[in-house]
Amino acid sequence: MRAAVIVFPGSNCDRDTAVAIEAAAGRAPAMVWHEDAELPAVDLIAIPGGFAYGDYLRSGAMAAHSPVMRAVAARARAGTAVLGICNGFQVLTEAGLLPGVLMRNAGLRFICRDVALRVERADTVFTRRYAPGAALTLPVAHNDGNYVADRATIDRLEGEGLVAFRYRDNPNGSAASIAGIFDPTRRILGMMPHPERAAEAVLGGTDGRALFESLAESLA
């Protein structure tokens, strides 16, 4: 699997994500700066966590309009897998590649802890190494993780099976306890929890590793 990790000013999980990808795929991803308008030929584009552009205006809003995102959108439309983690999920919603928006946590506090999740679909390029309905523990670290969309969008996500992960104990007020969603092709995944922070035992958990292994296997 050839992968690229997008790096914005303020990204802070880019290297962790690169390490997790390299461990699963056996080759290091290309690190692509946000001002680059071109992407190398890759099978996966990862948009990492952090605080791109300092979360100015709204989380992900400025990053969504950076030069590299036009290339990301074009590749996504052409079927390249795109993974947005945390701030990356916020960027994907602001770029219009995923529906809805991540608002301020309902409790107004930054949440940085492990959360329990359920795998809602195990038949995608991102999740095939998980068992359907599997219980996972992954860390979250966000201020704006409260997934909001209109009723029709939530109904569509539920009806079309586009919810990827759900919180077992909703920490941030997200509609339908949504922690991650797919686009209709299930080639784009946005999720608030951090699989790359739970990809090696030394990090305190390994439940995130299968996501990168799923991608490496699917996109070999």
Partner: protein
């Protein structure tokens, strides 16, 4: 020409910040408060002198960047 843009949460979108502000005001002893909602104000100086074209351009700015219309409404006010 100067424009002022108010960006507010749509009706029905929960505003935890506004709610916290309301609670803080109540704690300070301000009585009789209903709902408190928080928004943003953005002032923009424009070279454009035609108000119709200015408004058109500002609407495009709001739709593409300044507001997230999934959850936010915007209102444009032009000053001479």
């Amino acid at each position: 020409m100067r424009a002022r843009i108010h960006i507010t949460l749509k009706d029905g979108v929960l505003d935890p910040q506004g709610k916290a502000v309301g609670q803080a005001l109540a704690a300070l002893g301000f009585a009789g408060l209903g709902e408190v909602r928080q928004g943003k104000v953005i002032d923009i100086d424009l070279a454009e002198t035609d108000s119709g074209r200015a408004r058109e351009s500002l609407e495009a700015m709001c739709e593409r960047l300044l507001a997230n219309t999934v959850i936010e409404d915007y209102e444009i006010t032009l000053a001479e």
